[in-house]
Amino acid sequence: MKILGISAHYHDSAAALVIDGVPVCAVQEERLSRQKNDARFPLGAIDWCLVSAGLEPNDLDAVVFYERPMLKFERILTSALRGFPRSWRSFPHAIKNTLGEKVWVRGIIASHLGIARDRILFTDHHAAHAAAAFLTAPTARAAILTADGVGEWATLTIGRGDRRSGGVTDIALQQEVRYPHSLGLLYSTMTAYLGFNVNEDEYKVMGLAGYGRPTLLSEVRKLIRRLPDGGFALAPEYFEFQTTAERSYSAKFIDLLGSPRHRYDPIDLASPDGQRFADCAASLQCVLEDVLVDIAARLRLQTGLDDLCFAGGVALNGVANARLLRESGFSRLFVPSAPGDAGCALGAALYADRIYFRNPDREVPDHPFWGPVVDASQLARAAHEDNQPVSELDDERINARVADEIAAGCIVAWMDGACEFGPRALGHRSIFAAPHDESIRERLNRDIKRREEFRPFAPVVTAEAAHRFFDMPAGGERLARYMSGVFPVRAEWRSRLAAVTHVDGTARVQVLERSMAPRLYALLEACARRGGVPILLNTSFNIAGEPIVTHALEGYTTFRRSGIDLLVAGSTVVSKRAPAGKESDAWSSSSAAASTVA
């Protein structure tokens, strides 16, 4: 059975293809369109999935959309009605936005793919999240927790998943918290208050929290009321996301926490305002963790299960995930590589396969590499044409050279095989550097990533050595498989791992097993043999504001315009020749003549 899953129209859209119960490919639209967080209908991703599997649209048994558009429209309309008359400004925008495209999903899919409308199915948004977490996790039964901004009505759900004998699979979401009470929207509101982009920069708030102390706990707790059943309710007087599109926090929110930061104001941690913003972030982070741990601990008691599968945008919060693992009572915590809305494309396809069509459960390969494969010959050709130094080396020599260059303080971009599905670079589209030196972090920020100084860089470490350097609880390696947990760096290693140790002594570590990315694993071993440790600083191969690179030429142009010293794709290694002068110099002589012709 061939099932295509689609997510679109809100965050980063994506498509995923499941054939006979096993994912064969999945990719976010942004990776192909090169528009960061591209939320448009993912035509490019769909096309790539079908072409790479050698299918025509008519070969598909079903196309599954990751939410129910009319139910979502009902929520938007109801929200506008409840906010009457204060919602008058947001109403036209919301209606145009929704009626313009979002409610016509069935027609859009049918017209683009030319398939019968009865082959187009829908799942609940949180059911797709749950499936993305449970059906990709190597566990027979697990409790399920999903939490994000909002789906149709639900913002958080709890339930359980079971793989029974005979391959029958069941996912039962039993309880939910409904809009407008939302942990995701609480976090997004603080994101906006702190001057960052909503639905994009929430991880910056988490990074900033490391610099603050939770001194504003009592204030932040006024924003969210805890309830006897373990649930929560946002205090509506502090929020405006129901009534305006321009601002999600109210004047009362500002009275409570002080004036907000404008996006162009620098965050100066030495100033009282800068420290207040960091304290806001730290306090929010603390409250979020408290609520999540409480809900998860109750879920553990209710289900009596050892494993928890967690998905939704909130599951991107690695600090909260680590605390969940430590304090909720679950032995293992599974967070998929794409816990956000993009992952729902895969979740929806798997949900349809196992639950709608009742197909027997199949083991899903335990890796995140479902995207386009890098073609190293493209890189070699472009570098040759541009007269850049290119060499073709076998794996052993590549590893030796890269280890040498990294030890010498160079920054290396690394492309290998299929690209990752999800927001993290997990070793197939990464930038590597030595983890020791704090100055490399500054150089990365200044010459390549061009991002805020307070944001930490992550390490990748071999599974065998992980506990030597990082203080992880039991089950921590699993959580760190997709870089989903933040753990303390052992005190004796902090100064020697300064480039990857956050100000609070933690790191968002990726624990790598050889089977997941053998070439990267071999590189880590080569770095250890070179006299170092089997750890590298691992950051995504992109520049701020751009999606992670997918194809070789995107890697090449990023390499050429940034401070990366070496680019490796497959067996091709390109180093940087010192610039001989701008191309424009060669053209300046013809400028006058050309301009007069024009």
Partner: protein, 251 residues
């Protein structure tokens, strides 16, 4: 530079409007923020062109052009940030962006699948027009040397961009390059018309929906608020109906 950066008649006619915009610090700041976004988006589009063109020389030129545009975006952004920090009345809401929809980078043009001659013609016309307008802006910000310096630097780059696009257009389409330039000018005009039309339609749509909001919605709003008061917060059971919702249902 003056010879190649003369402004279009329309821009010269609109000089009083430009003066009005640049004479006020808030409007100036807003304009710079818009430029920052447009230059950055345009830079990314040209970068995409560098990635998809089969022509090695064009790839190098596009890459350099893209680096320039992204740098311009950074210059405008940094200057905006400096002006923002220097503002006295910070409480005022600062609208960002252009009231007209579209106009982001090269969004009028689909990079993939677009032949190089069409892209070059489009870039040439766009760069020439931008250079003319920036020349006016440079004169209007005499009171602000830092901003003026940015326009000076960008104008130098625009001359290169104008010239290489034209020279390369003549290379890749030696028999039809003039036609392509005229076509690009006509298309640009048409796209401007579409943007204005879309903006007007948007305003009309908003007005209609706002009218509907106040005329049709009040009774429904009353019911919705009444129902909201009865709703419990916290955990709610997922109803069996919800759990068993039909796969084909959009509800």
């Amino acid at each position: 530079m003056a010879a190649v950066t003369h402004s279009a008649p329309l821009d010269r006619l609109m000089r009083p409007l430009h003066h009005w915009i640049w004479s006020d610090r808030d409007r100036r700041l807003r304009k710079l923020l818009t430029f920052a976004d447009v230059e950055t988006d345009g830079g990314r589009d040209i970068l995409r062109a560098a990635e998809v063109t089969p022509d090695p020389l064009l790839r190098r030129l596009y890459l350099e052009h893209a680096i320039d545009e992204l740098h311009h975006g950074d210059l405008f952004r940094d200057r905006s940030a400096a002006l923002w920090r220097a503002r006295s009345g910070r409480r005022r809401v600062l609208l960002s962006g252009n009231p007209l929809p579209g106009g982001h980078g090269l969004d009028d043009l689909k990079i993939e699948g677009e032949p190089d001659h069409r892209l070059l013609a489009f870039l040439h016309v766009a760069e020439k027009s931008a250079a003319g307008r920036f020349a006016i802006y440079r004169e209007l910000v005499d009171d602000d040397p830092a901003t003026r310096e940015i326009f000076e630097e960008i104008l130098r780059d625009e001359v290169f961009h104008m010239n290489y696009t034209y020279t390369q257009l003549a290379r890749v389409a030696p028999h039809s390059y003039r036609r392509h330039v005229w076509y690009a000018r006509a298309k640009r005009l048409w796209n401007r018309y579409l943007r204005v039309a879309a903006a007007l339609a948007g305003v009309a749509g908003n007005a209609l929906l706002a009218l509907m909001y106040f005329v049709v919605l009040p009774p429904f709003a009353w019911f919705a608020k009444r129902a909201e008061r009865r709703e419990a917060a916290g955990f709610l059971s997922v109803s069996r109906g919800r759990r068993d919702a039909a796969p084909r249902s959009q509800y």
